[in-house]
Symmetry: C2
Subunit: 359 residues, 2 copies
């Protein structure tokens, strides 16, 4: 039996909400139902240009979306500083929540969001799209294969993009009162998530910022790096920046194999994603070439990763609505750990590179 | 007019000397002339199985190679702890020197080797083969293109390989009295060289070891990482290890472009080497894919990179022999800077991760 499509309300008309609106349209079990903005005109314009059905509700406030009894779930792409207020309000109004990253300004704030969601029985998931790409499951299969990959030893994750002058002046991600975590919260979130993901979400023992963090005049992080260290000697480094050409590189090195990809956050192409693996790589007899050569894997997907995300979120919401299932805690668990490590990196930056324990 | 082939003598029968012997055979301006080992039998066996001509000299000592007046140049693949002694002796005997890396146990030792070479007018070059691959010049062209790459902002270089039980027990690279620098001297050398190369050999301001260096029981480095920091905010990280699957990854991120390759030390294939570049990478309108996509470049070479190295070395030696030219200082300058940074990383490891200045 087909699922009843989950009716989404969107809080605000952020640029990223356009991509997620399309994803909601593409997801077989979700539908665009409402959008709210502080400006009714902006909301109407957003609905008209982003494939909302004629029957969709257009509201001049976020509250109005939350007060609409027909809204099942909200997507919250508001600046991070507004997450606590609007996510807890949404939970209180029994709306399931798809929340943009970083999920909060710090893990204490996020815990209050989680508490509101738990006590109101609503699903909470962050909007880390790549987690839902079918490629991710394929890569995980490789990483957990003790014959092909062995044990993870080291990792490097990079996400940089060259922000233009307008972004560096006006984007919410450079404003201390909006997205105070800057490049760390925006791009660094993905680096940390990928590292935790490859580590089965086992937390590192400590985090240590690298020297050389760059801030804008308002004191927001524009570029930074860190290393993460586990009890067993595993080490990961990450680098995120608004100052380097768009680069999304992840490399994970195990005792027996290596995983590598260059577009982990957003695949080069929407429906076709690649990754490279190698196992027990060695050399020709005179060390003049590699044997075996790395293998390239292609993973096709009909639904873009953000639509896969909306589909999974809506499936969980449907389980709650239809069967009274409990919300799936796994997803907010991932969010919390990512935020927790991100906070530790931030604390280490604030302490001039001192190691910050995570236990 | 064809050059007179440079007559090579090889000191010792190291495994790597087999690859270089073949390279000398392949180089149009070099020839295998002599090999010396502490065991005459080993030397004879080495000559017989590595393409030495019947006329080649086989000696039961390194001294005998240096005393042969027909030897123009020596290749020294001896353990690092023996470089100072044999390289200075070779220079005194007016032999041009192709020296395995790391060039010395520390930069002070290397300076004594340089002094011996300079005062005897002989060419000195280290055996960092990838520097001579035609791919390297192509990549450099990209890195220096202000429109396509812009200014270097950050970099990551990795070289790991999974040493087997025999290596970890017996190889010279795990012995404190032979190659005391372990994985840092062996694999880390390449990481540091690639970073300096991309930075036009501009030295970083300071180096800082990451936590988590692993040592064997004898106290030799088996795995380590570091970050390097330049005056202008550029940052590079490196990781080298004997404990991870074979991985050779370099990524250099500029303000406008990105350079990436996965086999910088030894190309996957001998005669065909790849690298990837991207310039002003951005996204499709809804941020669902990349525009433009990265470009893959293929560089063909008739001569393998190690034969290109021997050819360039022999060309320089011929210039000295025929025209009385001065030795080319560029090459030992690269060696010295690599060793200098390597020493700083080692010092930082010894000081528990303290920053070590390089100015």
């Amino acid at each position: 039996m087909a699922e009843t499509p989950i009716r989404f309300g969107i809080l605000g008309c952020a640029e990223i909400a356009r991509k997620v609106s399309r994803a909601i349209t593409l997801a077989p079990n979700a539908t665009l139902y409402a959008v709210g903005s502080r400006s009714l005109e902006k909301a109407a314009k957003f609905a008209a240009s982003n494939g909302f059905p004629d029957s969709a509700k257009v509201y001049g406030s976020y509250d109005a979306v939350l007060d609409d009894p027909n809204v099942d779930a909200v997507y919250i792409p508001l600046p991070t500083s507004l997450h606590l207020k609007w996510a807890t309000l949404a939970a209180q109004k029994k709306k399931h929540i798809l929340l943009e990253k970083p999920v909060a300004l710090n893990v204490e704030e996020f815990d209050r969001i989680v508490e509101a969601c738990e006590s109101n029985g609503v699903q909470l998931m962050d909007s880390t799209m790549w987690m839902h790409n079918p490629r991710t499951a394929q890569m995980k299969k490789f990483l957990t294969d003790s014959e092909k990959f062995g044990e993870l030893r080291s990792m490097n994750a990079i996400f940089t993009f060259a922000a233009d002058a307008n972004f560096l002046e006006n984007d919410i991600r450079v404003k201390p009162d909006l997205d105070a975590l800057g490049a760390l919260g925006d791009a660094g979130w993905y680096c940390i998530r990928s590292i935790l993901w490859a580590n089965d979400f086992q937390l590192p023992k400590f985090a240590k910022a690298l020297p050389g963090t760059l801030f804008n005049k308002a004191g927001v992080i524009m570029s930074c790096g860190a290393s993460l260290h586990w009890e067993d000697g595993k080490v990961a480094t990450l680098h995120c920046s608004f100052y380097g050409n768009l680069t999304m590189n992840v490399i994970a090195i195990g005792t027996k194999g290596t995983l590598h990809l260059e577009d982990y956050v957003i695949p080069f192409e929407e429906k076709r994603a690649l990754f490279t693996t190698s196992t027990e790589s060695g050399f020709t007899e005179l060390v003049t070439g590699w044997v075996p050569l790395p293998s390239q894997h292609v993973v096709m997907t009909d639904l873009p990763q953000e639509a896969c995300m909306v589909t999974e979120f809506s499936r969980l919401v449907n389980c709650i609505k239809k069967d009274g299932s409990a919300a799936e805690k796994k997803w907010w668990g991932y969010s919390r750990k990512t935020q927790f490590v991100l906070d530790a990196v931030k604390a280490s930056i604030d302490k001039g590179g001192e190691a910050v324990n995570l236990s």
